[in-house]
Amino acid sequence: MSLQTAGQTLRHPAFRLAITDMAGASMGLAAWAMVTGVAMVKSGMSVSMAVFMSLLVYAGSAQLAVIPLLATGAPLWVVWLTASCVNLRFVIFSSLWRSYFAHLPLHQRLAIGYFSGDVIFVAYMKRFPEPRPAPDQQPYFWGAATTNWLAWQVPSITGILLANAVPLSWGLGFAGVLALLGVLLSLLFDRATWLATGVAATAAVAAFALPLKLNILVAIAAAVTVGLLIEAVDRRRHKPEVLLVPADSAVSADELQQIEAGDAVALREERHP
């Protein structure tokens, strides 16, 4: 973007509109950012490391999630895997961003990707519900992105500097855990998600002694498996018939199909009391 186009973008009414649209959510963003800043420093990071991380990574929940891992020296791939899982929602968002910005050159698409986030996404989709390009969209996006960036980085770095003045023994870093707890609770919609979380918690604690923070991997794998299994079972839970299978005989192809579809539960007859 040349200076001239940057100036045009700044003066564009859609740029201003985006700032107003984002103002309401900015307080919440700021509080989150401060918690993240404090949590980073209280995990043992130096101020310069924390500022570097805040400016570069620019991701609230992913940053919070990897802090305990970085603090215990987890291997890089566990850190990255955890962040990828937490960031998965952005992958879905990106498929919607595409309908507005697919025509732009790659470097602009990447820039839009990097500076987008949940709050911008919500504001943008409210303003432009029609998934097709329109002239005001880019200045609007950059207005929202600038507001989001400032509302995040300023309090985040303030939090980093303030946290440095507070003793570690106060345990302010616990606010980061509570923030993640809040996000987690907001993801629990149904039986399957609750069970998956229960499994993940049990697995993460039970496998804690594994080296290289592998308990994280075990917990993620177990929870995703359980979640998908429960979904598969739930889809088929329409009052199955009991099918008595005589001893010493195989089920017919027809019956096998019923069993596999979950319409019948096979019960094997046994030749002894």
């Binding site: 570069l56 620019y58 345990g171 399957a192």
Partner: protein, 111 residues
């Protein structure tokens, strides 16, 4: 923790790349790729699994073992935070309530 400078640097640069790649994922290819079903399903469980895996030990364990005492400020703090969340559904309030319970118990009583 070994806050080894170089390893931290690599970790952070990798995390920044993940921010770019995940947020622009479907904008990167020139041709449109349809959103696969397994991704939508995975989306439902992978984030909550990762979050739980990270915070469960932070809440339930100390020094590598399950908490053996009820005199731990984290437990009442988490209970009150959860109660608040299901009452009001606000994440910021959840953090505030949790810390309001945690800090006096932790700093005052040394739990």
């Amino acid at each position: 923790m070994n806050w080894d400078g170089l390893e931290f640097f690599i970790a952070v640069v990798g995390l920044a790349l993940l921010t770019v790649v995940t947020r622009s994922f479907f904008m990167i290819p020139e041709r449109e790729i349809p959103l696969p079903d397994w991704l939508k399903r995975g989306l439902k469980y992978a984030p909550l699994a990762a979050l739980t895996a990270v915070i469960a030990p932070e809440i339930l364990m100390s020094h590598g073992a399950l908490i053996a005492t009820l005199k731990d400020a984290r437990l009442p703090a988490v209970l009150c935070a959860c109660a608040y969340y299901f009452w009001r559904r606000g994440i910021l309030g959840t953090i505030v309530v949790g810390m309001l319970v945690y800090l006096p118990l932790h700093i005052g009583w040394g739990w």
